[in-house]
């Protein structure tokens, strides 16, 4: 029995090494798109529709500055973008690119009132609509919240996905560590903060699982059944999926120094955003200005953005139409897990559908919601 287990393990290891040596190329972010606007290193991509456009209001996806946007379109069967396209939404996404020395003085104001605002204006111009929907993810969600507070007249719906707005929590390790970080010394020394430095911090949050167990697990998942061709195909897929994720994890852009400085100090250390005290180029961000419909989506087991960091957003805004969804998954699982494709995307689409209608149909929906709310109150 013991020998059989050993033989099985050896066989798996050998198969795994062979797979690494002969694995065909793999790609990420394969959903077809076109670049419709560029500014410095920022690119605005428009995804080619896969279904007839059913909802006139376009969605702009704003991803974080750390890591790359293609986690939302990692592979065809794990793609938030593709699921939303299939539901008939018109989707745009911002690719922030890879900042270099020349970008070290970019501030959050440049990102929010510059790049995001110009991207929103471009989409408004193309769609002929005054307002569009914003879907902000992680730190991109925080930037979207800032944008929605400063430019509410251009945002029809705001969706935040695993987004931190309240940084005064001791539930996440990043929140604890950030308090004691000498941000000035890091920014003054590097100018452009290396992505690898941030990645080291992310890895440290669960060192043994992320640096050892993950790789052991890959070899354990290898199948070696009697039908070698079928197994081989499945193993290849397992390895490709693993490598796609591995590529994304270590594809960490450097950070514009001044943006990093302000984000760490104003948000993580002073927690100014949720207190309505944060300023961008002298303009105060008042979250009460957010009056559009809000959907705040969280992951229950998020180790990077704990729920405590996201929940207060719903109380801080003045929107009457606001909802919170919590899924039993993790920070990354919410984009690529099977639950993401089966539950998260459909729920976001369901929420967006009636809020992405043209004028008259939207009025009917609003009236219906009003009636529903008054019924609930009467109860």
């Amino acid at each position: 029995m013991n020998d059989l287990i050993l033989i099985e393990d050896y066989k798996k290891f050998k198969l795994g090494m062979e797979l690494f040596l002969n694995l065909p190329e793999f790609s990420v972010g394969t959903t077809p798109s076109e670049i419709i606007y560029t500014e410095d290193k920022m690119k605005l991509l428009h995804y080619i529709p896969t279904a007839e456009k059913q909802h006139p209001v376009p969605i702009l996806v704003v991803y974080a500055l750390v890591n790359r946007y293609y986690i939302l379109d990692l592979q065809p069967d794990k793609s938030v973008i593709r699921r939303l396209l299939d539901k008939g939404f018109d989707i745009y996404i911002i690719d922030w690119g890879y900042p270099s020395g020349v970008d070290r003085y970019l501030t959050i104001d440049d990102y929010v009132n510059g790049y995001i605002n110009n991207a929103v204006d471009k989409i408004r111009e193309l769609s002929g609509l005054d307002k569009i929907s914003l879907l902000g993810v992680c730190q991109g969600g925080t930037l979207s919240v800032m944008y929605a507070a400063l430019h509410p007249e251009k945002v029809k719906n705001l969706i935040t996905l695993v987004t931190p707005v309240n940084f005064d929590t001791d539930k996440g390790l990043l929140h604890i560590w950030a308090k004691s970080l000498d941000v000035d010394s890091i920014v003054d020394n590097y100018g452009i903060v290396p992505g690898n430095l941030l990645n080291a911090g992310f890895l440290l949050t669960d060192l043994f699982r992320l640096m050892i167990d993950k790789y052991v697990g890959l070899f354990e998942r290898i199948e070696s059944g009697p039908d070698d061709a079928v197994c081989q195909q499945r193993n290849e897929e397992t390895f490709k999926n693993f490598l796609r994720m591995e590529k994304w994890i270590f594809d960490s852009p450097d950070q514009a120094g001044e943006t990093f400085r302000q984000f760490m100090k104003d948000c993580y250390q002073k927690n100014l955003l949720i207190k309505n005290k944060m300023e961008l180029n002298g303009k105060r961000i008042n979250l009460e200005k957010i009056s559009m419909p809000l959907l705040n989506v969280m992951a229950e087991f998020d180790h990077l953005v704990p729920n405590d960091a996201s929940i207060p957003l719903n109380d801080a805004v003045s929107s009457s139409d606001k909802e919170m969804l919590v899924f039993p998954t993790g920070h990354i699982g919410i984009f690529v897990g099977s639950r993401s494709q089966k539950e998260v995307c459909p729920r976001i689409a369901e929420w967006l559908k009636p809020r992405s209608l043209d004028g008259s149909r939207e009025e009917k929906f609003k009236q219906k919601r009003k009636n529903q709310r008054s019924k609930v109150r009467t109860k």
């Binding site: 410095d40 020349v102 604890i176 020394n189 043994f208």
Partner: protein, 184 residues
């Protein structure tokens, strides 16, 4: 958690003693103001050395703390699996051992990483590391780049700043021109 108390007290004591001796002997020499024609260079060199000692001290503190966590994890691991791992170790047992090892070490480290103690130590270590890198770079620039007439980081940063400011002005003016032409 018992790992807060050092199991590496002798190492800690030795290092503390070394640091005290350094501070009262060589350290004082390093901090002494330099004089003479090369005083500026000497002072920078000495400050660089001083930042290295600070980094070394912070690194030693962190190492001792980490060693304590490893010891605590090992102790917990022994408690969990000590009796089970006696006698012949089968592959199945080995797998269980691995599982227990990952779980115990992950949990023990998480407890340590969550502590304010780690956060402040880590913050201090990073500050000293940044300071050391900065001094190192300044020395390199002073002794190699400047004599060879090559641009330094500070000079590049000046250009970047100027470029950033110009770009911002151009963007603002472009948007004003666009607004004005739309009004017409």
């Amino acid at each position: 958690m018992s790992m807060e108390k050092s199991s590496f007290e002798p190492t800690q004591e030795f290092f503390d003693q070394w640091l005290k001796t350094y501070e009262t002997t060589c350290g004082r020499l390093v901090e002494m103001p330099a004089i003479g024609p090369s005083r500026e260079k000497s002072e920078k060199l000495m400050k660089g050395f001083s930042s290295f000692v600070n980094l070394y001290a912070a690194w030693m503190d962190s190492s001792i703390n980490l060693q304590n966590v490893f010891m605590e994890a090992m102790r917990r691991m022994h408690e969990k699996t000590g009796s089970e791992m006696e006698g012949e170790i089968s592959p199945e047992k080995y797998k269980d051992f691995y599982k227990a090892w990952i779980e115990t070490y992950s949990e023990t480290f998480k407890e340590f990483l969550k502590s304010d103690h780690f956060a402040s130590d880590n913050g201090r270590f990073i500050s000293y590391f940044m300071e050391f890198q900065k001094r190192n770079r300044e020395m390199l620039e002073e002794n190699y780049l400047k004599p060879m007439n090559l641009p330094t980081k500070a000079e590049l940063d000046d250009i970047y700043k100027e470029l950033y400011s110009l770009k911002r002005t151009v963007k603002e003016l472009t948007s004003q021109v666009k607004e004005l032409s739309e009004k017409k």
